[in-house]
Symmetry: C2
Amino acid sequence: MLILSLMEHYSDQLNGIFQALADPTRRAVLRQLGRGSASIGELAQPFAMALPSFMKHIHLLEHNGLIRTRKHGRVRTCTLEKARLAAVDDWLSEQRALWEARTDRLEQFVIADLEKDKDKDRNMEISK
Amino acid sequence: MLILSLMEHYSDQLNGIFQALADPTRRAVLRQLGRGSASIGELAQPFAMALPSFMKHIHLLEHNGLIRTRKHGRVRTCTLEKARLAAVDDWLSEQRALWEARTDRLEQFVIADLEKDKDKDRNMEISK
DNA sequence: TGAATACTTAGTGCAATGGCTAACTAAATG
DNA sequence: CATTTAGTTAGCCATTGCACTAAGTATTCA
């Protein structure tokens, strides 16, 4: 039953997880948390944005299960939820399994599209 | 020089790739293309949305390098760009490398500390 | 050549995203 | 007890995302 409901929402979870990973600020937070737990203030320090803006990223990460947080006094500590990225891993594996199951088919060349990079990162400057 | 510019835009590329993967329609397209190349019409057929809407997904996938397309006559054929997902793989590996590098007692200390406060603090919301 | 096919372009609408400020609460600290 | 510190809440705003319809283009077919 539990497993069923997990399977049922597998895709929804991937939506949220990939969405969460699609932002450089949030990836940077995950990266930092990979080195160990940290408070909101510590995590926010490298970023130029206002704290409430930063908090939204934290909430989104927590909401999608990529981190856990706990408040101790007036300090909220964030911890990486390592197991969560397994969903990404699983998706990648599944995807690869699909195309690797196909025995060699004729793959044709297409001239690579030399699209120029568009919008640079908006507010990714590291302050201080 | 080429490598440098690639490195420089690594983060931008991840933004786009993760964003592209954050949509179930687009993941379904990639999944289908994993079974082999297909035309726009073939790919669109399972979806309830209007064709121009579907096309936007295709364009986004192509723009982010996850697929390539080529037009023959009036038919546009889409092909999976398998190598593109390596960026996701790389990011995952890098992320894991970070946290696996610290399996020392510092991590244990933090965990123990969190466990210790479990009873006092009920403010931690895990709500989904 | 006229009609059907397979996209393609253009423009609309609404919700979600990601930034901001101002003002607030609660927990240290002097 | 007043002040600083660390988040938090509320609300605003510009941009982006993703759906739609209507109409256009370019092949292919009868």
